[in-house]
């Protein structure tokens, strides 16, 4: 009896695959196989019954609550089945709303169920905002710790230390309350060399301490916290399971180490990691709501919104965050979660702003408020910046991937801690002397200060030199930094490179315009009292171009930049640059840095934007191939428990198709390995009659005569998926790929005239695509 209950429980997962066959008149008039007729006749009454039920709520699956653990869950590093999960949720939903009339408590439960999505994203948004605020404060404090300390109130960073000092003028944020290390160690400021050396040494020392802490904490507590996280989150949202990747340890360690890594002065940002942190929050809060916590497909709705919140707090750009989530990371439901993502992103930005510890009255750390106009002739340097961005993006992706591959395959990969320390030391030693690299986010905030047009003087020349050196240094070190085993974002370094390049071009243009003031091209630009050219705008455009080149983002990037500048008037320059960067970059390589890293790691990610342009058909891709042994199948009513166990021992497939019989290979359904093994083992332990030579029946009706004499039959109809997705062998692969992408399939069965020929899994498709691109198909590692 208990077996039956168990099997019934399991069956309720598959609830929609009802144990009823509904035959139309067609099969009635021409059935040749006996079991066909059998089904056709005995289910006739149930069919009419069904038609009635379908109008109201059905009573079929009441046992959802007491599912045995393990059913409906997935193993680590497996792909989820979207359709199955979504229909599981639908059943759960119907079950709850059916009980609506029962009691007041049930009504509250229904309301809670309906609202839980909104409540969850609200919590996620608030948590993300809070984390971002803490990280902001901590980073700025730790960064300044490299240079000195606010002795009286040690928790202030330099700017806050001098916040309300009534000095009449200062250019550098320094005041008497801020003690630099040289000052603290008693080295007088008069000894220029001595104090410089002390500062230098302390700077490098602190950087090394922060970096060591970061890499050690990551290694000891949460190795998954390293890297950017966006490639993995893209993969997870496309329907892949990585257990622990969004756990609480990852959250804590990533938040702490992000601060440490940024404070160490490494050429990395905290935007990618913030997306990871937001996703961790999403995952953790989703466990508060069973609707989301227990259903991998539904959970991804929350994660999708959380990713939007991550970008939203990173840049203070809620709309940009939503579009980023839409364009880059969301996979299965681009539009369904739009409104909720927006709410989440806005809540996060609002919380971050409400904290507002620094007394800025804008949402963002990068807020730039330009009012100067731009002129049509300036589009030329903007497009030049776009070209630079595109080329740099391609070079960076190539270089970084090559370096990462080298790290993966060579001995370098065995010394991750040493690598981080070396990179930190080199960065700190080279960065300190140059004012444009010594300070985090200097390059962007710097973009806001305006020069008025003046002729070249020594200051400008020196600034140009420093900028050029900073550019080269940044470009080289970023290639080696991205991929070391600390939390590392890519947005800020990319933008910094673009901003430096843009500023250089901007200053060049300014000098050009100033010296040719009377030229008809520049005449309109140089009004009296204005600067001819705004180098800050060039920095902005350059940042947009390089970021576009590296990440291959398009609309979301322009919108983020548009929200940063806060005005529609610069949308044309930004778009011109982003577009040029993308086109130039695409000429080298179509994929962005995240896709390249996904490919490097061999994650099973089927890009939904890439077009499949080949004319192969399903028969070319399906397995078994011609040289391989035949497909592993089960028959519906002739195999014994022993045989099935043998098949399961010998193979490692995740599921088995069930066919009518070995003679007529017509597909009946599909059974998952996991369900099958749980069902058989529990039947063997709980049910005495089931022995090794019991016949397993996947049909609805067990012939009576076999039961007499022989061993008791095992009925497994209820774990059979009666509605596997099938295609014919002539289906073009582009249609198959489209189905996998849009329906979120895990596998599809290939038939010809109703007969089962083979199977195509997601991995097969990825291998096929890799093969068509002349890449190694074995680079696809996971299922």
């Amino acid at each position: 009896m208990e077996t039956d209950t168990l099997i019934e429980d399991m069956a309720s997962v598959q609830a929609h695959y009802r144990a009823v066959s509904a035959n139309g008149t067609v099969s009635e008039r021409s059935s040749t196989d006996e079991e066909m007729l059998d089904i056709a006749t005995d289910t006739r009454f149930e069919y009419t019954d069904l038609a009635d039920k379908s109008h109201g709520s059905t009573n079929l699956m009441d046992t959802l609550d007491d599912l045995p653990p393990g059913i409906g869950q997935y193993d680590d590093f497996h792909t989820i089945d979207w359709l199955r999960d979504i229909s599981r949720d639908r059943i759960r939903h119907r079950q709850i709303s059916k009980r609506k009339q029962d009691s007041c408590f049930a009504k509250v439960k229904v309301a809670h169920d309906a609202w839980s999505g909104w409540v969850c994203v609200l919590l996620v948004g608030c948590a993300t905002g809070a984390f971002a605020a803490v990280i902001d404060v901590g980073t700025s404090w730790m960064s300044d710790l490299k240079e000195g300390i606010c002795l009286e109130q040690f928790w202030f960073n330099r700017e806050q230390c001098c916040w309300a000092v009534n000095d009449t003028t200062f250019d550098q944020n320094a005041c008497s309350q801020w003690y630099s290390w040289s000052h603290l160690f008693g080295v007088s400021e008069s000894s220029v060399f001595g104090s410089y050396m002390i500062k230098y040494i302390m700077y490098v020392l602190w950087a090394m301490v922060f970096a060591t802490l970061a890499v050690m904490l990551v290694r000891v507590f949460a190795p998954y916290a390293c890297g950017s996280g966006i490639p993995e989150i893209k993969t997870i949202l496309s329907g892949f399971i990585i257990r622990g990747y969004l756990g609480k340890w990852t959250l804590i360690i990533k938040s702490v180490c992000m601060m440490l890594a940024v404070s160490a002065g490494l050429s990395l940002g905290k935007e990618g990691p913030l997306v990871h942190v937001a996703s961790c929050c999403g995952n953790i809060f989703s466990y508060l709501f069973p609707k989301y916590g227990k259903n991998e497909a539904k959970k991804r709705e929350i994660l999708s919104a959380a990713a939007a919140a991550g970008v939203s707090v990173a840049f203070g750009a809620p709309i940009g965050g939503v579009l980023f989530s839409l364009e880059e990371v969301s996979y299965y439901f681009p539009l369904k979660t739009l409104w909720r993502s927006f709410f989440c992103a806005l809540a996060a930005a609002f919380v971050l702003r409400s904290f507002n510890p620094f007394g800025n009255d804008h949402l963002v750390m990068f807020y730039v408020d330009y009012r100067n106009a731009w002129y049509l002739v300036e589009l030329i340097p903007f497009i030049v910046l776009g070209v630079f961005g595109g080329i740099w993006g391609a070079v960076f992706i190539k270089g970084n991937i090559r370096w990462c591959r080298y790290r993966k395959s060579s001995n370098l990969g065995k010394f991750p801690i040493t690598e981080v320390l070396v990179v930190t030391a080199v960065t700190a030693i080279l960065a300190f002397p140059n004012p444009y690299t010594s300070d985090y986010q200097r390059n962007l905030t710097d973009a806001t200060t305006d020069f008025t047009s003046a002729n070249i003087d020594s200051g400008v020349t020196r600034a140009m030199w420093q900028l050029a050196l900073a550019l080269v240094f940044k470009m080289v070190i970023t290639v080696f930094t991205f991929g070391i085993k600390v939390p590392a974002g890519l947005f800020i370094p990319s933008m910094a490179i673009g901003a430096i390049a843009g500023r250089m071009i901007g200053i060049g243009m300014e000098q050009l315009a100033y010296s040719h003031r009377e030229h008809y091209l520049f005449k309109e630009m140089c009004h009296s009292g204005h600067t001819c050219v705004t180098p800050g705008l060039y920095a902005m455009v350059g940042a947009c171009a390089t970021l576009g080149g590296v990440t291959k983002m398009t609309v979301s990037l322009v919108v983020i930049m548009f929200e940063l500048t806060g005005g529609l008037q610069y949308i044309v320059p930004l778009m011109a640059a982003a577009m040029t960067a993308k086109w130039i970059g695409d000429a080298f390589d179509k994929e962005g840095i995240y896709d390249a890293h996904i490919k490097l790691n061999g994650y099973p990610f089927l890009d939904s934007k890439e077009e499949f342009t080949h004319t192969t058909i399903a028969a070319d891709v399906m397995r078994p191939k011609r040289t391989e042994p035949p497909l592993c199948v089960l028959t519906q009513d002739s195999m014994t428990v022993e045989q099935i166990e043998a098949i399961m021992r010998e193979t490692d497939h995740n599921g088995f198709p069930v066919i009518v019989s070995a003679e007529s290979q017509y597909l009946v359904g599909f059974v998952l390995r996991r369900d099958l093994s749980i069902a058989i083992s529990s039947a063997r332990t709980n049910h005495d009659g089931i022995v090794s030579n019991s016949v397993v029946y996947f049909t609805n009706h067990v012939p009576v005569n076999t039961v007499v004499g022989g061993p008791e039959p095992l009925k497994l109809r209820k774990i059979l998926d009666m509605a596997p997705v099938t295609i014919t062998d002539q289906t073009p692969m582009e249609t198959v790929v489209e189905m996998f992408r849009k329906l979120g399939l895990r596998q599809t069965l290939v038939t010809h005239n109703g007969r089962l020929l083979g199977i195509i899994t997601k991995k097969d498709i990825l291998r096929h695509i890799a093969q068509l691109k002349n890449q190694d198909p074995d680079s696809i590692l996971f299922n």
Binding site: V134, V137, G138, W141, E152, Q153, F154, W155, F156, Q160, W163, A164, V165, N166, D167, T168, T169, F170, C175, Q177, L213, M216, L217, R219, V220, F221, A222, P223, Y224, C226, G227, E232, I242, G244, W249, I252, V256, M259, L260, F355, N356, P357, F358, G359, N360, D361, C404, R405, R407, K408, S409, G413, K414, F451, T452, A454, K485, H597, N601, G602
Partner: protein, 173 residues
């Protein structure tokens, strides 16, 4: 003194003294009322009279910050980092040693774990264990083995992650 206050009025005025480039002069004052944040109130009369209409070119902004938040956040961060570092040192140095010792140190160890796995446990546990009552001992032992088991499980997970990333290089390259 004023520089640790939560409100300020900041006026940025151009001063033309410096050769050719206009560097900005900044004047600050603490006002709780944003309405009083006007150039004429912030900048000294003497400075105002250096130039005709000096105040017209100034931009004044009233800011409010939250020093308490900063203080709490920074101290929180320091605590978290210190705790993590201590536990890390413990895991790296003491844990291998302890693995070889007999089981007498389990209770003490457990307390350490408790701190970080954040499982809900009554505070006065050490006292409990010293009392020689069988039932409590049993419960404690049970608890201890449970926590121990959880810690082991967590360690196993981390070990697995480490193997993926640092040894086999199959992820997060």
């Amino acid at each position: 003194q004023g520089q640790y206050e939560d409100v300020r009025c900041k006026c940025v005025c151009p001063s033309v003294k410096v050769h050719n480039t206009t560097s900005h002069k900044v004047f600050l004052k603490t006002f709780s009322d944003p309405d009083l944040c006007r150039c004429s109130m912030v900048v000294d009369k003497a400075v105002q009279e250096t130039e005709y209409n000096f105040c017209n070119k100034c931009e004044c902004k009233w800011n409010r910050r939250n020093t308490t938040t900063i203080k709490v956040v920074v101290i929180l961060i320091i605590c978290v980092v210190s705790l993590l570092v201590l536990y890390m040192l413990f895991l790296l140095c003491l844990d291998p040693l302890m693995a070889r010792r007999p089981k007498t140190y389990i209770e003490q160890h457990n307390e350490e774990v408790n701190l970080d796995t954040q499982s809900i446990q009554p505070g006065g546990m050490l006292e409990d264990t010293t009392r020689p009552r069988g039932a409590i001992m049993m419960r404690v032992k049970h608890e201890v083995s449970r926590v121990r088991g959880e810690q082991q499980k967590w360690k196993g997970t981390v070990q697995e992650q480490r193997r993926h990333i640092y040894d086999r290089h199959t992820m997060l390259n």
